[in-house]
């Protein structure tokens, strides 16, 4: 006959948990250390996460991934500002070699103050004068770089640019002003009387929203038709966090002979403030939390030891009716694991609550990784496991003969 159901796991669990709630006062004193330790740990990690989330929220993802390089300007004696340097025409290929650059495009505003931009090839002298839309020369990567989306049609490509094709893409508001709604009829716009085929309309852009008001033509076209001297600036989309390093590298890549002549506007990396806050929170409180948690473990060990001493009679009885030493030890370990888990659960709940309260007071958004809360509860169980070891060993070595003489 197989020894069926001889102190299986459910029995162990039942015996380990049967008496835990019978003395609530003692239970509280047993778990208070664990509760405080786990709560402090969870609150510390939670506050660090909250602070990091707070900083991340302040930092605008679009601004953090854009880098702009332009010529440095200098004041002339007469009070006007002139560009002190110039970007090379191959700025895009120079920048794209740098790590952290995801996409780059040159962009220049074409200065044609007297230009007439119209969708009909008729010079109507009676037409009321209106400011022409700004005209930008750009390379084909512009759309990707500024996060633009087309409302209709397509953007020009490197081929158009290389051949200096007379093509243009309109910003959506420029298209409205010019009365163009669709591109499948192959409309043209006339800039100073020259026809440019409209390929598409840009509906929106994450950055450089002024493009939506503008007529955009390829850079080579602008060089040929409007004698564009140099790119105005280079716009690049970069990886998050690459800003500080690219700030140093971009100018060198674009103007190795005179990097000082260029001005690079790149986002800072993660905020220094944020790093400081996190370092402070983590360092001091983690140490405190671990100390409290150790004290909690010692507390569990003490009370479990006390409980073993008090229950010598029970242990003797269990041995007499057939419990092995291991079963006795298992029962006490399981009991302290359950107590530790209970402390961990309460502590994790308190810790999360503390993070929420502090966040509300500070007007922050509380951020707690659920894995941290679950891990905190489990850590309590581990503390119980470690703390229960010695008392359980002691309990297993109690001689039933002596124990049964002891009474109760």
């Amino acid at each position: 006959m197989a020894p069926a159901d001889r102190f299986r796991f459910p029995d162990l669990l039942g015996e380990a948990t049967a008496d835990i709630g019978s003395r609530p006062g003692r239970l509280v004193t047993t778990i208070v250390g664990t509760v405080l330790g786990i709560a402090a740990l969870i609150a510390t990690i939670g506050l660090a996460q909250t602070a990091a989330g707070q900083i991340a929220r302040q930092f605008d993802a679009n601004a953090a991934t854009q880098l702009v390089v332009g010529p440095r300007t200098a004041n002339t004696g007469g009070g006007a500002t002139i560009a002190a340097g110039a970007l090379p025409w191959d700025a895009v290929s120079r920048l794209e070699r740098l790590a952290g650059i995801e996409s780059a495009a040159v962009l220049a505003e074409v200065q044609l103050p007297e230009a007439v931009v119209t969708a009909v090839p008729v010079n109507d002298p009676s037409r009321p004068p209106s400011a022409p839309p700004p005209i930008y020369a750009a390379s084909a990567e512009l759309l990707d770089t500024v996060g633009g989306r087309l409302a209709t049609g397509r953007f020009f490509d490197a081929g158009h640019d290389g051949r200096a094709d007379r093509v243009a893409v309109l910003g959506i508001r420029a298209a409205e002003r010019l009365g163009l709604q669709r591109v499948d009829t192959q409309p043209s716009v006339f800039i100073d009387g020259i026809a440019y085929a409209v390929l598409g309309v840009v509906g929106s852009a994450d950055v450089r929203a002024e493009l939506l008001n503008a007529v955009i033509v390829p850079t080579e076209t602008a060089r040929a038709d409007f004698r564009l001297a140099a790119p105005g600036d280079v716009q690049a989309r970069i990886a998050i966090g690459a800003g500080p390093q690219l700030r140093n590298q971009a100018a060198l890549a674009l103007a190795p002979d005179d990097p000082e002549s260029l001005e690079v506007r790149a986002p800072d990396g993660r905020s220094e403030l944020g790093r400081d806050v996190q370092a402070d929170v983590n360092g001091v409180f983690l140490v405190l939390a671990v100390i409290v948690l150790l004290a909690g473990g010692v507390g569990i060990a003490n009370v479990t030891m006390l409980s073993v001493m008090e229950r010598v009679g029970e242990i003797g009885l269990r041995r007499a009716i057939g419990a092995t030493g291991r079963q006795i030890a298992g029962q006490f370990v399981a009991e302290s694991v359950v107590i530790g888990l209970l402390g961990g659960l309460i502590g994790a709940a308190l810790g999360v609550f503390a993070v929420v309260v502090i966040s509300v007071v500070r007007d922050w958004t509380p951020v707690v990784d659920p894995r941290v809360a679950v891990g905190g509860a489990l850590l309590g169980a581990v503390v119980g496991l470690v703390a229960g070891g010695l008392p359980a060993h002691r309990a297993a070595r109690i001689e039933p003969v002596d124990a049964l003489r002891g009474g109760t």
């Binding site: 006959m1 197989a2 020894p3 069926a4 159901d5 001889r6 102190f7 459910p10 029995d11 015996e15 049967a18 008496d19 019978s22 009679g313 029970e314 003797g316 009885l317 269990r318 041995r319 007499a320 009716i321 057939g322 419990a323 092995t324 030493g325 291991r326 079963q327 001689e399 039933p400 003969v401 049964l404 003489r405 009474g407 109760t408």
Partner: protein
């Protein structure tokens, strides 16, 4: 399957057989609590062991109950030599074949009568589904079917000892060992317990009652005396 704990004990052998058992406690001075004791108890016998304090009664009980080992000599329980068993096997044999009743009852104060009676069945392999019916049956057997959910603190001394007896017999042991079972009870309660023992004996249970009370000892069908660690049969 060579695990002695799981083998049914052969029924032809005596329930208990002690052969020249000596138990000495290292000194100084060395004390011999039992000196060459030989006792044989047949299946279904009702035996009392008496003797003044210090005569070796408790040592005898501990050895019979596999809670202690003889220094010299052999102890066979149901024909199985116990000296070769390791501690885990001895625990298993205790769980399956022995029931204990103590002077101090040793009931768990925060558990109900029923839960106390269930306790030994955790360790002796009673299938989970059978445990509670058996425990209720045992409580009925000792006349406490109406007290199953009472805590020991709310029961009288006699009732507590009856719960302890129910706990000892619920796991259907081969031998019931009682150590001063009436030591904490008045004479009326003692009589109740002794009547209960006689009923259990009539049902075929092997009983060994250790007592210093002549009144209790006379109820047994066979009496063994211990004096200064030596065994003698008494009429």
């Amino acid at each position: 399957m060579s695990d002695p704990a799981t083998l049914p004990l052969p029924t032809t052998a005596p329930a208990i057989e002690l052969r020249d058992v000596t138990r000495s406690f290292p000194g100084p001075p060395e004390v011999q609590a039992l000196k060459g004791a030989s006792v044989s108890v047949a299946d279904g016998e009702y035996v009392s062991i008496t003797g003044p304090s210090g005569s070796g009664k408790s040592t005898m009980l501990n050895i019979l109950g596999l809670l202690d080992r003889p220094t010299v000599g052999e102890y066979r329980l149901g024909g199985v030599l116990t000296g070769v068993l390791d501690e885990d096997d001895r625990a298993a044999v205790r769980a399956r074949h022995l029931g204990f009743v103590f002077q101090a009852f040793h009931l768990m104060s925060r558990r109900t009568a029923l839960q106390n009676v269930l306790l030994p069945m955790l360790y002796n392999g009673t299938p989970r589904a059978e445990r509670e019916p058996r425990a209720r049956e045992a409580l009925e057997r000792v006349g406490l079917g109406h007290r199953t959910d009472f805590l020991p603190g709310t029961l009288s001394g006699g009732e507590r000892q009856r719960v302890a007896v129910a706990r000892a017999v619920a796991s259907r042991p081969r031998v019931l060992l009682a150590d001063e079972p009436t030591g904490n009870l008045d004479s009326a309660r003692s009589a109740e317990i002794m009547n209960l023992f006689e009923e259990l004996h009539a049902d075929g249970l092997t009983l060994v009652v250790i007592t210093h009370d002549e009144e209790v000892a006379r109820r047994a069908s066979r009496r063994i005396r211990l004096a200064d660690g030596r065994v003698s049969e008494a009429g």
